[in-house]
């Protein structure tokens, strides 16, 4: 049993060090979700865009705009740019850079990656992004 202890420890360490790392599939899925959202905005399809929103963000949008999501979302000043590069994934959160410089933030839900905040621009270092849409 003592001989197994170092092996078991090393295996546990390898697992612990790798847990939550952004693996390729998840990064691609997050980028794809952001791409579907941007594509829906580009063709003015509010219903398709709202399908890519997290439930919390869609609910917040409707409460703030006092209008159904598929109408309210097209009234926002959201960028229509396509994603640039792959997503950055940590645990259940991701960010995708857009070609115009804005950032889209996503959360992983049981149904897949959903947009939590969009039209986000950097502010001062160490401060949150300023987002046109957020939950």
């Amino acid at each position: 049993m003592p001989r197994l202890a170092p092996v078991a420890t090393l295996l546990a360490l390898a697992c612990a060090a790798c847990t939550g790392c952004g693996l390729g599939d998840r990064e691609r899925d997050a980028a794809a979700a952001a791409g579907r959202f941007q594509s829906a905005l580009e063709r003015e399809d509010g219903r398709a865009a709202c399908r890519e929103l997290s439930a919390e963000t869609a609910r917040t949008l409707e409460q703030q705009e006092q209008a159904p999501c598929d109408q309210a979302i097209l009234d926002l000043d959201l960028p229509r740019d396509a994603p640039r590069g792959v997503a950055t994934v940590y645990l259940l959160s991701a960010s995708v850079d857009l070609r115009g410089g804005a950032v889209t933030f996503l959360d992983e839900e049981p149904a897949g990656w959903k947009v939590a905040a969009a039209g986000c621009l950097p502010t001062e270092p160490g401060h949150p992004y300023d987002c046109e849409l957020e939950g």
């Binding site: 170092p6 939550g20 991701a94 270092p125």
Partner: protein, 224 residues
Amino acid sequence: MRRFVKHNGLSLAFLGLFLAAIVFQAVAGLAVFNDEQTRHGESPISFFRYVTSSSFGVAVMENWQSEYLQFTLFMLLTVWLVQRGSPESKELGKEGRESDEDQLVGDHAKRDSPRWATVGGLRRRLYENSLLIVMGAIWIATWFAQSVSGWNEYNSEQLDHQEATISWLGYLGSADFWERTLQNWQSEFLAVGSMAILAVYLRQRGSPESKPVGAAHETTGVEG
């Protein structure tokens, strides 16, 4: 089998306690994590998802690294430092690596001594320091694992709050990394230090961690 259990009772008992504790830690940790998810309007995750996440990983690793540091430092410092009256210390005057005769190495090894204690050169040097090397290596590895899983957890929080992520090197200099590290270190150092001094004056009959009940307070380096 019974003989095996009897001869290895101490390690088996702690293995059982460790397994029970880590399972219940995972259960409690999942509950806390999912409470936060719900509070943020996000979906809860499964038990399997949680125990394979960096959130659980950092919670485990930050504790493991401090435990192995504790033993690494304790082994190292007790070579050269003494505590008068403590069973955790060598006798006064025996500071240092001690003679080959005291350590039963080379020509002074016994018939049943480990093989590498009987040889010379690199093999003996490695074996003489094997406990420190392995414990120290595990400490470094678990501290590294803490840094990686903690970095993932930190950046997940950053993205969740629509803030920029940081590099791993940036995380090593962050308050989050050092707060996690030092909160564990301080408790380990306190525990070892208090054990070293409390054992001067207090006793636990039958435990090798204690002096014999009737041993004088000044008696150093004897076990009960």
